[in-house]
């Protein structure tokens, strides 16, 4: 897809009276030369892989390869089954599935990098939970995924989706924006509401450091996926209520990039600062290597 900006995307939707996902589908069709139906089929397979990862993650207490993390999703899932959680049923499921996916990822399970493997729990967490809550079809869920991809695509084109280049705001921040837009899409919001939700989400991730303990995608990444899934839902809810983002999404993305470039390299995935160099973080690293 060749979508240089959110403005362009919104223009396209307005010109043809189409939702964002249809614009994405059209773009992908003309890029890849495959039919819309086969693009949708591939997206359905992708969604299946997402579900499999989330469910595998909550069902097992497998440890990560390094042994640093593991079992948190199963713990939260058991808690949900036996207690009334603080979060409502949809939000708490989103947390469970996001934790599950990220834990599965840390254990070298098969996930969909969305937009990266480190942030792979947020979009599926939100979408699967919403599907269970509202009972829409897989096909409709996939429309949400397409809309999410448009947002991620613009971020990758205008800025970066790599923690090494832009900090975690570029990874989990982008995923959070994608998830918010996806949720608004499946709930029947307008294209503008989708991008407003994404803007609200991303704005609240600005400045987020990438400071993983021992340089591994585990601490704080796994739990961060859980927490940011909830953030995406709040952003979507506000947008559905008609709340606008004061700063339009294109400008938020540019701000994110500017902040990423200004971040010192010690908090851009090098594990030379932040949580990675706390006494506990360093001790964990020493135990491992």
């Amino acid at each position: 897809m060749d979508i240089p900006s959110i403005d362009y995307l919104l223009d396209e939707t307005a010109k043809n009276g189409q939702p964002i996902w249809q614009v994405v589908l059209r773009e992908e069709q003309s890029d890849s030369g495959s039919s819309q139906e086969s693009v949708l089929e591939r997206a359905m397979v992708t969604y299946e892989v997402m579900k499999n990862a989330a469910m595998s993650g909550i069902a097992s207490d497998m440890k990560s390869v390094s042994g640093l993390t593991g079992g948190d999703a199963a713990k939260y899932y058991n808690y949900l089954r036996n207690h009334k959680s603080l979060l409502g049923s949809m939000e708490s499921r989103a947390v469970a599935y996001a934790l599950g996916t990220s834990g599965y990822n840390a254990a070298m399970g098969v996930v969909v990098a969305c937009p990266t493997a480190g942030a792979a729990g947020i979009v599926p967490g939100v979408l699967i939970a919403a599907q269970e809550e509202y009972g829409f079809s897989d096909r409709e869920a996939v429309y949400g995924l397409l809309t999410a991809s448009a947002i991620g695509g613009v971020v990758a084109t205008r800025a970066t989706i790599s923690g090494a280049a832009g900090g975690c705001q570029a990874e989990c921040g982008t995923a959070c924006a994608m998830a918010a837009a996806a949720l608004v899409e499946v709930m029947g919001g307008s294209p503008r509401q989708c991008t407003d939700a994404a803007a609200l989400a991303l704005k609240n991730c600005l400045g987020l450091a990438c400071d993983p303990v021992a340089g591994l995608v585990e601490v704080p990444c796994v739990k961060r996926n859980g927490v940011y899934a909830v953030m995406a839902i709040s952003a979507a809810d506000m947008a559905l209520a008609g709340i606008r983002s004061f700063i339009p999404l294109d400008e938020v993305i540019d701000a994110m990039y500017q902040i990423g470039c200004a971040m010192p390299s010690c908090i851009r995935e090098t594990a030379e600062g932040g949580l990675a160099t706390t006494p506990t973080g360093l001790a964990a690293k020493r135990r491992m290597f």
């Binding site: 897809m1 060749d2 994405v24 773009e27 992908e28 890029d31 890849s32 693009v39 591939r42 997206a43 992708t46 892989v49 990560s64 390869v65 390094s66 640093l68 599965y104 990822n105 840390a106 254990a107 070298m108 399970g109 098969v110 996930v111 969909v112 990098a113 969305c114 937009p115 990266t116 493997a117 480190g118 792979a120 995924l145 397409l146 999410a148 991809s149 991620g152 695509g153 990758a156 084109t157 970066t160 989706i161 790599s162 090494a164 280049a165 021992a214 340089g215 591994l216 995608v217 585990e218 995935e269 090098t270 594990a271 491992m288 290597f289």
Partner: protein, 220 residues
């Protein structure tokens, strides 16, 4: 710049890190595709962040998995080191420092029964890769397009012959780049085409005097 839907919503990959795992699998896979045969031995050198965290991220298993021919979504990658021993692939890992290189860089020197290839590549984020060197020659290949890699001698008329064979077989050249070694005469030409070049055409290309090899790697 155009970006694929399934690059954002993907790739489908084993964890834990798209750059430390998925990208590493793909660089290993490139080596295997260049050898066009089972890999028998490999010396793998990690640089930068790869050197620091390859063990915890499973980058070692990922590269070896790629050398064994596994795609990024193959769960057998988790077992690749053991499978490699079983299948007679001997490997060794080294780490080195070179601040000039991208922080996620790996150098693989791999041999099959008959050939040896030396590939340096970087994993640049979200599973995307950039091969930066083949057999000591600087290249820039990311395999987002169907790619034809030609090994040949620097001789007058070779490029014209290559272009002629491709066009007479109906292939449209999207991009063509040429790299030379400091050593006399060896050239790698990288051609991106709209569809992968077929075996017959590759055979014709190999029969051009001074072309020693033509390897087709469809985008992946």
């Amino acid at each position: 710049m155009s970006i694929g839907l399934f690059d954002i919503m993907g790739p489908i990959t084993i964890g834990p890190s798209s750059s430390h795992t998925a990208g590493a699998v793909r660089i290993g896979l490139v080596c295997r595709m260049l050898l066009e045969d089972e890999v028998k031995s490999a010396k793998i050198t990690f640089y930068g962040s790869f050197a620091d965290t390859y063990h915890g991220h499973g980058t070692d298993k990922a590269v070896v998995g790629g050398l064994l021919g596994f795609r990024t979504d193959n769960e057998k990658i988790r077992e690749s080191l053991r499978l490699a021993e079983f299948r007679g692939l001997s490997y060794e890992f080294h780490t080195a420092d070179d601040p000039k290189l991208h922080p996620n860089t790996v150098l693989i020197e791999a041999s099959s029964r008959e050939k040896t290839v030396r590939v340096q590549g970087a994993s640049v984020g979200g599973g995307a890769i950039r091969i930066t060197e083949i057999n000591g020659m600087p290249v820039q290949i990311s395999f987002v397009e169907d790619t034809l890699i030609l090994f040949h001698r620097d001789a007058p008329g070779v490029l014209a012959s290559i272009a002629h064979i491709l066009s007479s077989n109906g292939y449209n050249i999207g991009n063509l780049r040429l790299s030379r070694t400091r050593r006399e005469g060896d050239v790698i030409t990288v051609v991106e085409t709209d569809v992968p070049v077929d075996g017959t055409t590759a055979g014709q290309l190999c029969s051009v005097e001074s072309v020693s090899e033509a390897v087709v790697i469809p985008h992946f």
